[in-house]
């Protein structure tokens, strides 16, 4: 099965006053049709940037300096804005973090839905309107027929995000990039929204790239997971493998820092130090200053992704274990 999305050695640079910052450094992973891939990492690790690069909405002066992005086998990273436009919405849908600011306060929800539908699908406005009502109903909004003429400020936070999901799925894309879709919502609704997203995507056969810093959400929802650190991929693999037998020391630290009702621990694991700023990324492996198992090689040469056990990780460590 061809991957619906494939990133090969994608690098994103930001030329600034004081030199060029490398925000993404040779990121590679793929997403198969219909699967849910979580992209996880701390703030500033480059998760959202990856999403933006895929949709082609990198804020200038940021640009893709290296690598390729393939959508269903077709290369899209070099396309102009006008060439990307028919792809956005129709083949890739996007969901952003804050549902309040994602919707234009001056237009009704119905207008914004119908507008999206009519742009991509051959329908009349009234047909689009009916379809919009269906979409709202499928996202669990009660009294959709009336609420379609309501303005965004008349919905609560959770409802708004359902509208956003409806908008993202309106043109039936095959891939959804969801950037922190539940972070701005109450904890009590987060699970509902994630469930909804998962269900609708499964029904439509759409793959999901779920960007979040919340490992719990990933554990519940994703099929595979990509762990990012300082603009690079640290580890990737099946969710179960990454969670239960991680190879990269960073991932180990991440998993250990999640409180669990089931395990009894004296203390949560804490990774010393903080993720380096973009202009101060150490040579070799970016994690080396904080790594409890650092070796001299880590400070010199940057490790590439290699199969280690059940997952693939960018680490020198396992190489020793293999020989041991």
């Amino acid at each position: 099965m061809t991957a619906i999305l494939e990133l090969r050695e994608v690098s994103v640079e930001f030329p600034t006053r004081r030199g060029t910052l490398k925000a993404l450094n040779e990121v590679s992973f793929s997403i198969a049709a219909g699967e849910v891939v979580g992209v996880v990492g701390e703030s500033g690790a480059g998760k959202s940037l990856t999403g933006a690069a895929i949709i082609g909405l990198l804020e200038p002066p940021g640009r893709i300096s290296k690598g390729e992005i393939f959508l269903s086998g077709r290369r899209i990273d070099h396309l102009s804005d006008e060439e990307m436009r028919p792809i956005r919405g129709k083949e890739i849908g996007a969901i952003f973090q804050d549902p309040l600011t994602s919707l234009n306060p001056l237009y009704t929800v119905g207008h914004q839905l119908a507008e999206t539908i009519v742009t991509h699908l051959p329908m009349t406005w009234s047909q689009a309107r009916s379809r919009a009502i269906e979409l709202l109903e499928s996202t669990g909004i009660p009294a959709a027929r009336e609420r379609i003429d309501h303005y965004p400020h008349q919905f609560s936070g959770g409802m708004r995000q359902r509208v956003v999901i409806a908008l993202a799925l309106a043109a039936e894309p095959k891939l959804i990039v969801a950037d922190e879709p539940t972070t701005a919502l109450d904890v009590s609704i987060q699970a509902q929204i994630i469930e909804l997203l998962k269900k609708l995507c499964r029904e439509q056969g759409a793959a999901v790239m779920l960007i979040t810093h919340d490992m719990g959400v990933i554990a519940e929802t994703a099929d595979r997971v990509v762990v990012m650190y300082a603009g690079r991929v640290a580890e990737l693999g099946n969710v179960r493998d990454v969670i239960h037998s991680p190879s990269h020391p960073y991932t180990v630290g991440l998993m250990g820092s999640i409180p669990s009702v089931h395990q009894h621990v004296e203390r949560l694991v804490q990774i010393d130090g903080t993720m380096p700023r973009l202009n101060a990324i150490p040579a070799g492996c970016a994690f080396n200053p904080r790594c409890p198992q650092v070796m001299s090689q880590c400070k010199v040469e940057r490790p590439q992704l290699r199969q280690i056990g059940a997952t693939r990780a960018a680490c020198w460590l396992q190489k020793e274990k293999e020989h041991a």
Binding site: R88, L106, P142, H150, S156
Partner: protein, 329 residues
């Protein structure tokens, strides 16, 4: 919503009362009204008679009350300089100023708005940079200087347009209009352009900066992520959201236009209220100054109220309570 209108109306009345008080103080205490009206050589008997007639012996509140009653009817006494009734003078000059102001406002809107949108959408183009430079010049040039320059070029050197007065006017009832004669239009061009230039530059920069703000918002980003056409994003979404804050500022600018008409009318000897006011200031003609103050305040208050109402009509977020709001999860 009605509560809102009521509150604003009360506020407006409050402001008007405060202004009236100011005008009243001017009237009563700046200079001696009796001397003003009778001159220096009046006998004490004549003065006393006038004092009683004017009600100057009554308590201040009563006087203020009379002042307000008169003011509402437009009676501000006699002009010191001209001897005529102030209300008559103002009525004569009002149409000239209004026609000039409206013409300038229209120019500002029709020229400034599209240019502002253009410079926001094509930020880095050469034409945009040129327009921006021009707009910076526009806000750096004082209105009177623009008038003088225009007169120099178009009247003195080229001789195309007149530089003085209003041309031929036609009376319709108590309104005298210059819009129905060719010479009226000719005379209107230079002053209207002069008055509007500052506003054009202002509107251009305002619309541009608002639109750039809007183009940075999340909902525009989301609209792009949904693959909406450029036209839908720029004109359907961005423009509409830009216009909402622009409306308020435009409304306030209308007040500025009427005020700056003072300068323009002086440069072009345009026989409007502004010229009247300046002559009153130079001459310390209190009644005219007070009347102008009240009239202008009234116009401003009216404009502000209208802008508030307009906001209501345009921004759905303000219409809380009219539709269903909130909702369960």
């Amino acid at each position: 919503m009605f509560v809102f209108i009521l509150r604003r109306l009360i506020q407006a009345v409050g402001v008007m009362l405060a202004v009236a008080l100011l005008a009243f103080i001017l009237f009563q205490y700046v200079g001696d009204p009796v001397t003003i009206m009778l001159g220096q050589d009046a006998t004490p008997a004549e003065r006393d008679l006038l004092r009683t007639q004017l009600g100057l012996n009554e308590p201040v509140f009563v006087q203020f009350y009379h002042f307000i009653v008169n003011a509402v009817q437009g009676d501000f006494g006699l002009s010191l300089r001209q001897g005529q009734k102030v209300s008559v003078l103002i009525r004569e000059k009002l149409p000239a100023t209004l026609e000039l102001s409206v013409a300038a406002a229209l120019i500002a809107l029709v020229v400034g708005l599209p240019l502002g949108v253009y410079t926001a959408l094509r930020r880095n183009g050469r034409l945009s940079q040129a327009l921006l430079a021009f707009s910076l010049l526009g806000v750096s040039l004082p209105t009177f200087l623009i008038g003088i320059l225009l007169i120099l070029v178009f009247s003195v050197y080229l001789g195309w347009l007149p530089s003085y007065g209003r041309g031929d006017t036609i009376r319709i009832g108590w309104w005298s209009t210059g819009l129905l004669t060719a010479s009226g239009w000719q005379h209107l061009v230079l002053p209207a352009v002069t008055l509007s230039l500052f506003q054009v530059a202002l509107v251009l920069r305002l619309v541009r900066s608002e639109m750039l703000e809007v183009l940075r918002t999340d909902y525009i980003k989301f609209a792009r992520a949904r693959g909406l056409t450029r036209r839908a994003i720029h004109f359907g979404h961005a423009l509409k959201n830009t216009l909402v804050p622009v409306i308020t500022i435009m409304g306030l600018q209308l007040g500025g236009i009427i005020a700056f008409a003072i300068v323009t009318e002086t440069v072009f000897q345009w026989p409007g209220m502004g010229l009247l006011f300046i002559q009153a200031v130079q001459f310390a003609d209190i009644p005219v100054m007070a009347a102008y103050l009240c009239l202008i305040s009234f116009i401003f208050v009216l404009i502000n109220l209208s802008v508030d109402l307009l906001y209501f009509a345009v921004d759905p977020r303000l219409r809380v309570g009219l539709g269903k709001s909130g909702g369960s999860h």
